[in-house]
């Protein structure tokens, strides 16, 4: 914590003592509530199915490494991970570029229909995806020229479209809070609108972009229903689909050890990325919090 000292040393109110114990206790309890289940998955992934079901708290007596082998071989998790990276990588980039473009125009330019377009996007936040999937399927199948069903580009386009409402909503609000003077100065210097946007405004909006980017990443990473309906080629499976598949499969076959190992394999890379980049992730949220 970076706090600066001051000469004044005010007296701390004395309600601190017991409250502190209580509050700190809460912090510890919550940390356990979050940490324990994850550790449980880890150690269960080395246990036999019978042990997982009958003595959930026990440590593995013998390390069942075969669970991991089974999960890897049966579930094809590496391939699914790659698919997810491609789809989410593409759609995240697209969402951020298109979303901030639209947000910028809507925040900074008066034109007839501005409010209409804005509310059209914002209304999208409330569209339940369920009511859209069946018609959406036909739209993808019959799209002229480009195969969209069960393809990366199809999923990416759909993910972008479904992330736009929140992104536009957020970025519009964000651009409104940025000072207008810098952009005006750039325009006076003769820069075009587009140049002003890409060279001046976008860098200024970086905190907001990172912040909404994290929201979007989590949303797209966890998307379940859309790939289930639109991405039925097993070679193109994303992780959420594959994991649900795995969970169901183990439910039927009773291989809980394999399921736990599969979940670990799916979680580890993301956890690793988070451990390495936690500072950036948290800093990204700072930007969102600012405004």
């Amino acid at each position: 914590m970076t706090t600066r000292t001051t000469a004044a040393r005010p007296r701390r109110n004395s309600e601190g003592g017991t409250l502190n114990v209580f509050s700190h206790g809460m912090l510890v309890v919550w940390a356990l509530m979050v940490g324990m289940p994850l550790l449980w998955v880890l150690w269960s992934s080395f246990k036999s199915s019978g042990d997982i079901l009958t003595s959930p708290w026990s440590l593995p007596g013998k390390l069942h490494f075969e669970n991991w082998v089974n999960a890897w071989e049966k579930a094809n998790i590496g391939k699914m991970f790659l698919n997810t990276l491609i789809v989410v990588g593409g759609s995240l980039t697209g969402t951020m570029v298109l979303g901030s473009m639209a947000g910028y125009v809507l925040a900074r330019f008066q034109f007839p229909g501005n409010r209409l377009v804005y509310y059209l996007f914002v209304a999208g936040m409330s569209f339940p995806v369920f009511m859209l999937v069946i018609p959406l399927f036909f739209v993808l199948r019959d799209f002229p020229g480009v195969p969209l069903l069960a393809t990366y580009q199809g999923l990416i386009a759909v993910y972008i479209a479904y992330s736009l409402p929140f992104t536009v909503f957020f970025m519009t609000a964000f651009f409104r809070t940025l000072p207008t003077s810098v952009a005006e100065a750039a325009m006076i210097d003769g820069a075009s609108h587009a140049r002003t946007f890409f060279q001046v405004m976008l860098p200024m909006a970086k905190p907001g972009l990172i912040s909404v980017g994290i929201f979007n990443f989590l949303g797209q990473w966890n998307q379940y229903l859309l790939p289930m309906v639109l991405n039925q080629d097993e070679d193109k499976y994303v992780l959420t689909q594959g994991l649900a598949n795995l969970a169901l499969q183990q439910g039927y076959q009773g291989d809980w050890g394999g399921l736990m190992a599969g979940m670990m394999i799916a979680m580890l890379p993301v956890l690793l990325v988070y451990v390495i980049f936690q500072r950036q992730v948290q800093a990204g949220l700072t930007a969102g919090a600012l405004k």
Partner: protein, 307 residues
Amino acid sequence: MRHGKYRFIVGFLALPLLLYGIFVISPFVQAFQISTTEWSGLRGTAKSVGLGNYGKLLHSDEFWNALKHNVVMLVLVPIVTLALGLFFAFMLNVGGRSRRGAVITGVRGATFYKFVYFFPQVISITIISVIWFNIYNPDPHDGMLNSLLGALGLDSLQSAWLGEGSVALACIMLVMVWANVGFYVVLFSAAMATIPRDIYEAALLDGAGRSQTFFRITLPLLWDTVQTGWVYMGIIAMDAFALVQIMSVNMGGPDGATDVVPLRLYLTAFRDSQFGYAAAMGVAMLVVTLLFAVLTMRFARRERIEY
């Protein structure tokens, strides 16, 4: 200049609007049309029934039961999640003892807590459901939660959890809270870190306690952030589908105790093949979500505190 401006506006809006129009707006409009038909989903005859499906909806106890649970979630889950998030964030940033000469400081290990609390955010909802399903295993000896309670001598608190109608919905809401608190701890922490220290110090000099500091300084200054979080949490609460589908007893049970509209919609469409009726539910969900959004925005119109 004017011409350039409009060309720019059109240029920037065209692609986002095109994608949005094709993949969101057009299915959306089609869904309305489906909701006025009796349609089995596959090829064949969709029979127009006008507003018949909506009339059916109004008189369906199942639907109102599910909707009631959505509303309960919509109210409780954001409140509890955001309250816990604020509390923890406050503890982590302002709640610590004075040390190292600093007046305002977080508790010891704040960085670690933030790090751990965020974990559930990076885990797929499928995994979360499977984990909690095991925690709630109702067997007094095999269940994680039950055996823990037993070991602590709290046998009387043991329950069938998801199998117990009176607590099942709360069990599912707890998972939603569990999964999302960390996000708001980090979010609010970041926001709190931007509050100038001298504001706190001035308050402390005036003799304000921690709770007073929280309610008179922290909360008002964070109000905008809380708002954003509220909208986001509301969306999550409306879509409890994955959790309820994977965890609940007898799909939304016991006896409808955890039913939510998205699940009802899914079953109506994919189990009962009544796509028209299901689409009508979708439209109803839309109405509720819109109501929520409007109310939130109303509520949000509060004066911002400048500093």
